[in-house]
């Protein structure tokens, strides 16, 4: 700690240059925080409070292939399965394609299979009794200022009605909540009746997108999954039953490989940061060769000089990085509060730890060459200006 003052003053020897370099570090870690928040949101999409007590059954061929509704009762009969729901991805658009949110046709018992979706009893009853009824998550309702009694028109992108119309209008009868803050993303969905959907759609009748099984004993999950898949073995609709996590990940990857995209952007950002801060550190040390020589003259060892320069570059990254991550946390909170329906999670402990590790690593990396130069300088040559 006694060297902190020395390191600090060396860092701010050229204030303007240091501030601009710091701003670039802040920007890089702000971006890191935001992108990591998006990646975490996608990665945690499958982390349900019910955990392994739910299984998902999809077509073995492709997630896009539908399954016959006829196997519903056979899945229900598999020992260990306590409840089965079925769902169809609808893919409707509300007013504008940029207003993306999940909208799905569901079986009437959806809220039994997803008990973490809290829907008041009266609203659940209204949903079950209203053919064109729909239920939305609280975040989504808040975002679009929807209230119970509103009519919500969705433009179909996949399923037109038999009448030829692409407009499906639903009556909002319920708003559900998710208590767990980390699961708030689940509040960005709209559910309506599969029966209404199946009767009105122009094609694909009698089929569902996937089944969701609630199981009594999570320890039996493997056996139950195998038993469900055995029901359709050697048929034209073979199934693959998997954990909710695996399903959510494969669902998200239908749109894009989020991890790869985020990783690539962050890689490019940090590569640029290494070049930029590396150049700054090299310049800073080059200017201070006589001062480093003086430190060595009065007794600082080669290792001490090495450590001082490395500490300087790590401190530069730590100050800028911490500020960037803190800003990212504020920005994510602001975006979530204002926009609601965005796939972002607060900058959590894991992001901070990863960020701090990156700050230390980049700091050491960019400081390594200048520090080595400082360590190896010969006092008499440096003092003589050679």
């Amino acid at each position: 700690m006694k060297y902190l003052g020395l390191v600090w003053s060396a860092l701010f020897r050229r204030k303007t240059r240091t501030i601009f370099t710091l701003l670039s570090v802040v920007a890089a870690f702000l971006l890191f925080g935001l992108l990591n928040s998006v990646r975490d949101a996608f990665a945690s999409a499958g982390h349900s409070v019910a955990g392994a007590s739910r299984l998902i059954t999809i077509s073995k061929v492709s997630f896009m292939m539908e399954l016959p509704k006829s196997i519903y009762t056979r899945i229900q009969a598999v020992p260990g399965v306590s409840e089965v729901a079925y769902i169809n991805w609808f893919g409707g658009i509300y007013q504008d394609p940029k207003n993306f949110f999940a909208n799905e046709a569901v079986s009437p018992n959806l809220f039994d299979v997803y008990p973490e979706f809290k829907l008041p009893a009266a609203e659940l009853k209204a949903f079950q009794q209203t053919r064109t009824g729909a239920v939305v998550g609280a975040s989504l309702a808040a975002h679009f200022h929807w209230k119970i009694g509103d009519q919500i028109p969705l433009q179909a992108t996949i399923f037109p009605q038999k009448s030829g119309s692409n407009t499906w209008t639903f009556d909002l009868v319920g708003i559900y909540h998710v208590a767990n803050r980390s699961e708030k993303q689940q509040e960005n969905a709209l559910f309506f009746h599969w029966k209404y959907f199946d009767e009105a759609r122009a094609f694909g009748n009698g089929k569902v997108g996937w089944y969701v099984e609630k199981i009594a004993q999570p320890k039996d999950a493997d056996r139950i999954a195998a038993a469900i898949d055995a029901l359709s073995a050697n048929s034209d609709h073979e199934t693959k039953t998997q954990s909710e996590d695996a399903f959510q990940t494969s669902f998200a990857s239908q749109f894009a490989n989020i991890g790869l995209i985020v990783g690539s952007i962050m890689g490019a950002v940090f590569f640029t940061l290494v070049l930029l801060t590396g150049n700054t550190m090299a310049q800073a040390v080059r200017e201070r060769i006589p001062e480093l020589a003086i430190l060595k003259t009065i007794g600082f060892s080669n290792r001490s000089v090495l450590a001082l320069v490395l500490a300087e570059s790590v401190l530069l990254l730590m100050i800028g990085g911490a500020a960037g991550l803190a800003l990212a946390d504020l920005a994510v909170s602001f975006i979530r509060a204002r926009l609601g329906a965005v796939p972002m999670l607060p900058v959590g402990l894991e992001s901070w730890l990863l960020g701090l590790a990156l700050m230390a690593l980049i700091g050491l990396l960019v400081g390594a060459l200048p520090a080595r130069r400082g360590m190896r300088l010969r006092i008499v040559d440096a003092l003589a200006g050679r």
């Binding site: 060396a10 020897r13 003086i294 009065i298 007794g299 080669n302 008499v380």
Partner: protein, 234 residues
């Protein structure tokens, strides 16, 4: 009583590419405790090289160099660094203060290498600044001080850890006459009143007058007599 600095057959050869340049030839010299020695000589005579060797900034090619009973010619780089921290204070022509630190912080620098707590370091630095007459400039940065004041801060930094030996390389070379007199008087006071052993390299005969005695170097060899000096000069 053995001398503080004992130099025997000391040689220094620099190798620049394929050329070998012998800067010091078989120097023999004793410097007593409490001495104030001025080293004079023309440019390239080897006086700064000799000073660097005495201060442990460089290692000799041949010969022995003993300071306070310790053979420093045998020490490795890390050991030399530790030795310098404990035994030598340096004053240079261009002050070589760290521009971003206040006078106090500059003076404190050698004490960072000790186990003294921060409060002690600060009080030691204050005493050193008081001794050089700059107590009222403690918070000023080098850029806010005159050349003479900067050099006095450098002297405070050199003496703050109470070293065995002060080595000064042209300490007045960048100063006006008035400031030079102040700095030389200060060095003389440190020698007379505080018993500091000082080795000073200078071009200036007036500066050398402040020393207790003077030695001349020419072409890497010590020349002590007036005749030899005259020969060397001619």
């Amino acid at each position: 009583m053995s001398p503080l600095v004992e130099i025997r057959n000391l040689s220094k050869v620099y190798v620049r590419g394929k050329q070998k340049l012998e800067v010091l030839h078989h120097i023999n010299l004793d410097i007593a405790q409490g001495d104030f020695l001025a080293l004079m000589g023309p440019s390239g005579s080897g006086k700064t090289t000799l000073l660097n060797l005495i201060g442990g900034l460089d290692s000799p090619t041949d010969g022995t160099l003993t300071v306070a009973g310790q053979r420093i010619d045998r020490l490795g780089q890390s050991e030399l660094a530790r030795w310098r921290a404990g035994h030598v204070g340096f004053v240079f022509q261009f002050y070589n203060l760290l521009p971003m630190l206040s006078a106090t912080k500059n003076v404190e620098l050698p004490l960072l290498l000790t186990k003294l707590p921060a409060a002690k370091r600060r009080s030691h630095a204050a005493v050193a600044l008081e001794l050089v007459g700059l107590a009222d400039r403690a918070t000023h940065k080098p850029g806010e001080l005159s050349g003479g004041q900067q050099q006095r801060v450098a002297i405070a930094r050199a003496i703050v850890s109470d070293p065995t030996l002060l080595v000064c390389d042209e300490p007045t070379g960048d100063l006006d006459r008035q400031s030079a007199v102040e700095v030389l008087t200060l060095l003389q006071r440190l020698n007379r009143e505080h018993g500091k052993t000082i080795v000073m390299v200078t071009h200036d005969p007036k500066a050398a007058e402040y020393a207790t005695h003077t030695l001349h170097l020419d072409k890497g060899t010590l020349v002590e007599t007036a005749e030899a000096v005259a020969q060397a000069v001619s």
